[in-house]
Symmetry: C2
Subunit: 196 residues, 2 copies
DNA sequence: GAATTTGCACTGACCGGTCAGTTTAAACGG
DNA sequence: CCGTTTAAACTGACCGGTCAGTGCAAATTC
């Protein structure tokens, strides 16, 4: 794949992400994406088989970036520290690609949706990384009895997603550090809960 | 409004909710909604000004039901008990109207979306009820220092929404009681966190 | 109390616009 | 040269919205 092609696809990803995140995949037209990317419509069909194929590639691309960042947070010291690093990376990602969060949240739970299969796999990628960190926390005895690691991981991922969206849409004046702190307060609170 | 009209609108709400929740407002056609409701297309336009107006009415209708149930949970005894009742009511609502959760989640955070204004108001209705309960908890000293009531309320609402969706889509085998317990574990955990 | 009118609720064929995707011939660039 | 991009016209299916007309029950008239 030539450098030119790569650049074109990147422009298309950026444009599609912006528009699709804002208005939903179904109501964005291919002509709009082409215009936003500053590219001819034919170029889209030269690079992608269809509008759906473009969105699907976009989904993969985004998850790849997120997964990469989360994996980079795995190394850190104590189990709390690395979980905090993970939370921070995830919030940073949502802050940087807000439209991706909007796209994800509006398609992920659409039961028989066209992307449900793809998205389930992508979700698993992310959740399994979170689960790795969560397991370290559990092994360190910092998770209350009765909390299942799998459940907690899925919940943390979903919760971070909505908190990030809510932050951007309804409380944009809060800083990222502030938001991270309120999430960590919750995670630490959970870790410090009394065993019943 | 005649009984006949009421029945027709109810059929339209049911049909629209099912289809719009599954596939998104933009990609469901008016003809499909009419067919699902067993009604002619013209009937929709007799009862509603437009497709958008139908969806907006649907949104109001759903939030009204949810708000009613949440207010019914306000009475209960201790602050923990009534918060638990609220959590239970909300999970029950999402379980009963899963499509409403899908509709809400895919429109609520769409920044300049057509529903954003309406949805912000509806969100405020619900969050303010949650805030009332949360405030009781805070007044009883069961919330760690530094946690703002408004933030915690918005977070709880969003979290319950995604947990309910995740439950239905990815872990349907779990019982409602089980899910409620894991959420309450989290809320109680937070209430028991050490003051720093 | 039969005939007629009124008005609400509903019908479904139809219209005009929109949009994904195609085609083509020509230009560009490494 | 060959892979890529462009511009613009075109196709055809689809979809939101319209509208003239139907069904029907209650009210009105004689």
């Amino acid at each position: 794949m030539s450098a030119r092609t790569t650049a074109t696809k990147q422009k298309l990803f950026d444009a599609a992400l912006k528009l699709v995140g804002e208005r939903g995949a179904a109501s964005v037209t291919v002509d709009e994406i082409a215009a936003e990317a500053g590219v001819a419509k034919g170029t889209i069909y030269y690079n992608f088989a269809s509008k759906d194929a473009l969105v699907e590639a976009l989904l993969h691309h985004g998850v790849e970036i997120l997964a990469g960042r989360l994996r980079s947070a795995e190394a850190a010291g104590s189990s709390e520290d690395s979980l905090e690093a993970l939370v921070d990376q995830m919030l940073g990602f949502w802050a940087e690609y807000p439209a991706f969060g909007q796209l994800l949240v509006s398609e992920l739970w659409r039961t028989p949706g066209q992307w449900h299969g793809t998205l389930s796999l992508l979700r698993d990628d992310i959740v399994s990384i979170v689960r790795g960190q969560m397991k370290r926390l559990a092994d360190a005895g910092r998770l209350p009895e009765g909390v299942e690691v799998g459940t907690a991981s899925a919940a943390l991922f979903g919760t971070l997603l909505v908190i990030a969206l809510d932050w951007q849409v309804f409380q944009p004046e809060r800083s990222r550090a502030e938001v991270r702190e309120s999430v960590m307060l919750l995670v630490r609170g959970l870790g410090q809960a009394r065993r019943s």
